[in-house]
């Protein structure tokens, strides 16, 4: 396949996944900020995770719910806003329109047309949850249409690769930011705030029910980390994402991606054969920092091997 086409498929999927993740983060943060309105910390989380705190503060000064919502959802000047992610997903899809199925194209194009309506109408904290739910649904539809209709060839593989690399990156980042935030809390036994923050984190990755099903016990940082890093049966966990990434990389035609494949396998091996006790012994923050670096590097290798070949 043409590198440019592969790049468009990859970025189409990454942008759609990023829009969904941003929506999840925003949803939980807005709810948390209602819980204890005095603190701005929860509002800063989605900005921290998306690496846009500095840009935001420079332009808006105070993180009010309304300002954060607008900035991350609709702001045309924020390259990471949901609006711009969807625009980019649609632009990339337009290039590969003949490669993807018509169902998939109609999903992406329809989403973009509706997104423009949302932007035209604007959002406030009351309409926010309807919008954020809509974003999640559109992302589900996009993945479902792709999974349900696409031929299992490189067109499919590069789109899946984008989805899971973006998801892995997001799970690692969100866990990392929360870990830092929670460790800043007052060290009290049975800190009630901790409970809500971990629960919110779980909700943001659709992991709250999963946690209850698996552990049937109170929420502890160790178990949350285990669920989101090491559990293979948790679809947004790092290990599950890397399982998919490795599967997809192995199926891409040709031998151009050796370096990317090797790196992805190494990360996968580490996730498969680590225990949560090892990770806590090494320090959760350090482990997550190095995983984020690894994901970043893997992204670069994928670019170099497949998407910008000379």
């Amino acid at each position: 396949m043409l590198s440019r086409m592969a790049g468009c498929l990859y970025w189409m999927a990454r942008n759609m996944e990023r829009a969904e993740n941003t929506a999840r983060l925003l949803d939980v943060s807005l709810q948390m900020s209602l819980l204890h309105a005095s603190s701005q910390d929860d509002l800063l989380v989605p900005l921290d995770v998306t690496g846009s705190t500095a840009d935001f503060l420079q332009r808006h000064h105070t993180p009010t719910p309304q300002a954060v919502l607008h900035y991350l959802a609709l702001d045309g000047d924020n390259p990471g806003s949901i609006y711009n992610c969807m625009r980019s997903a649609r632009e990339n899809a337009h290039v590969v329109r003949v490669k993807i199925t018509s169902e998939m194209w109609e999903q992406v194009n329809g989403t973009w047309l509706e997104m423009r309506e949302w932007q035209r109408r604007g959002l406030d904290t009351r309409s926010a949850s309807t919008f954020l739910e809509w974003v999640r649904e559109r992302s589900h539809l996009f993945r479902g249409a792709g999974y349900g209709t696409m031929l299992r060839n490189d067109t499919f593989h590069f789109s899946r690769l984008g989805t899971f690399l973006e998801r892995a990156d997001n799970t690692a980042r969100i866990l990392n930011v929360k870990t830092k935030q929670i460790s800043d809390n007052e060290p009290e036994a049975e800190n009630i705030l901790d409970y809500y923050q971990w629960a919110a984190l779980l909700r943001s990755v659709s992991g709250f029910e999963a946690y209850r099903d698996i552990y049937r016990d109170s929420i502890t940082p160790q178990r949350v980390a285990e669920l989101l890093i090491l559990r293979n049966d948790m679809p947004r966990s790092l290990r599950a994402c890397f399982g998919e990434i490795n599967k997809v990389l192995a199926r891409i035609e040709g031998q151009a991606g050796r370096a990317a494949r090797r790196r992805a396998s190494e990360i996968q091996a580490r996730l498969t054969y680590s225990s949560i006790e090892d990770i806590f012994a090494d320090g959760l923050e350090q482990t997550l920092d190095s995983l984020i670096d690894d994901i970043n590097l893997l992204g670069k290798l994928i670019h170099h091997s497949y998407l910008e070949t000379a």
Binding site: L2, R4, R97, G254, Y306
Partner: protein, 481 residues
């Protein structure tokens, strides 16, 4: 009964002869049409629009980011050509394109036709479409115009005339194919009652043509379609043809030149490219050889091309042969190279660079059609009978500024064909563009693109000017009455 009356008797109507008598080729169709209710037909027309929009057969409109691209109107009433007429058209097109390819080879080599004094040398050698870089280059099978779209009209005398030869990057073939698919879907019963020659094998024929002109030493040539990109108005067609042929649709940035060959960047590394079906003008092909500012082309492509290590279709420099100032000489080319009389007529043409022609045309502007020599797409022309006095006066000034830049032709009465319009079924003017492929041999699928001017009385069929399209049926055998 649908009331279909010819506009007047100065036009040839494809369906109705004088005295409302239905022509033999339309007889089955006319009786089918008689029992179809207007409402049912209207529903079918709406169904076609929905389907076209869903498949995405649209053409991009510049600056529109809503994704709601414009549809080229499709008309459900077919244009039917009898087997005997097609035989003439086919032979005429093959003859014409054969001569044009001979001509192109000649002017880039021995220039016999110039030496023989048939065409003034300065008209070729100073022509903007003439590429010095092509002199002395030997192309596979000596073919230049691999894909030609010959625009043909039928005059009130019932005869066919060639309006122009499109030898650069003729478009519209995707509509020929999609229109047929649509008609078979909407009216399967018509295909059971008519013996219509199929056109669906065109992409296959095109791929064979392209592969047959690859650099000679290549066993299994890799073909690509080169597009200027998704904002080009014909992008749909580029994507469509690439996918129908099963080859990659590339942009300039996907290709690069290394060690004397052209490669495309793929996910499994560089892959050699042997034949480029380009839908990009000469000027944009290679920033090193032509327009240095072009971001659409491939730096170094021309040097590989000149060494014969890649084929470019159509060849570089074909524009000189479909220039309107060269058009008047095509009948002479046919006589010169083939020793035959032209099967298809040219439209009589005044060349305004000639003093006596200029004088005549300036005296008769209200009756004539005047065109720019390098113009295309129906832009920048004057249709005398339809123009206001002011428009004619303004155009006269343009002509006087640079007479050599214009040609003039009599206002042709394009034939009409019944067409579904708001008021019902009414005659509208049409033309025909068959697509001629030249490779191992010169051939065409039996069919073409019929364009229709949807506005009453309008003679401009170009899609950019509000024209629509029709399915074109070539009957396998004529109905004898």
């Amino acid at each position: 009964m649908h009331q279909i009356t010819p506009l007047d008797h100065t036009h040839y109507d494809e369906m109705l002869a004088a005295g409302q008598e239905v022509r033999p080729s339309y007889q089955h169709f006319a009786s089918w049409l008689n029992q179809a209710t207007p409402d049912w037909l209207r529903n079918k027309q709406a169904e076609a629009d929905t389907l076209f929009r869903r498949v995405g057969i649209t053409f991009a409109v510049y600056g529109d980011e809503s994704g709601a691209e414009r549809l080229i109107p499709f008309d459900t009433i077919p244009r039917i050509i009898s087997a005997a007429e097609w035989k003439t058209l086919e032979a005429g097109c093959i003859q014409r394109v054969t001569a044009l390819n001979r001509f192109l080879h000649d002017i880039y080599h021995e220039q016999d036709i110039l030496k023989a004094g048939i065409i003034p040398a300065e008209q070729i050698l100073t022509n903007a479409g003439y590429q010095l870089a092509m002199q002395g280059i030997d192309l596979p099978r000596q073919v230049y115009a691999h894909i030609a779209g010959v625009d043909i009209i039928r005059h009130s005398d019932g005869g066919f005339y060639v309006l122009e030869d499109n030898l650069r990057t003729p478009s519209g073939v995707s509509y020929m194919l999609e229109n047929r698919k649509m008609m078979m879907r909407l009216f399967p019963e018509l295909f059971a009652s008519h013996d219509i020659t199929p056109v669906e094998h065109y992409p296959n024929m095109l791929l064979d043509t392209l592969r047959s002109v690859s650099p000679p030493e290549v066993d299994n040539p890799t073909v690509v379609v080169l597009t200027p990109g998704q904002y080009n108005s014909a992008y749909f067609e580029h994507a469509f043809l690439a996918s129908q042929m099963g080859v990659e649709l590339v942009e300039g940035q996907d290709l690069f030149v290394k060690n004397g060959h052209v490669y495309m960047r793929t996910t499994s590394g560089p892959q050699r490219v042997d034949v480029i079906y380009r839908r990009l003008d000469d000027a944009y092909l290679d920033p090193l050889a032509f327009n240095a500012g072009s971001m659409l082309g491939v730096p170094g492509l021309m040097s590989v091309y000149r060494e014969g290590r890649v084929s470019v279709c159509n060849a570089v420099g074909t524009g000189v042969a479909d220039d309107k100032s060269i058009y008047p000489y095509v009948p002479d080319m046919i006589r010169f190279y083939l020793g035959e009389e032209p099967i298809l007529h040219n439209v009589p043409t005044w060349q305004l660079r000639k003093a006596e022609d200029l004088a005549y045309v300036l005296d008769h502007l209200p009756e004539l059609v005047v065109k720019e020599v390098h113009g295309a797409g129906g832009y920048g022309m004057l249709v005398g009978p339809a123009a206001t006095t002011e428009e004619i006066a303004a155009y006269r000034l343009r002509i006087l500024e640079d007479p050599a830049n214009f040609i003039a032709q009599p206002t042709l009465s394009l034939s009409t064909c019944p067409t579904f319009v708001e008021a019902g079924i009414a005659p509208r003017h049409i033309d025909l563009r068959p697509f001629v492929l030249s490779g191992k041999k010169v051939q065409l699928v039996a069919g073409g693109l019929t364009r229709v001017a949807l506005r009453e009385g309008s003679l401009v069929v170009n899609s950019s000017q509000g024209g629509g399209t029709k399915d074109t049926w070539i009957l396998k055998e004529d109905i004898t009455c």
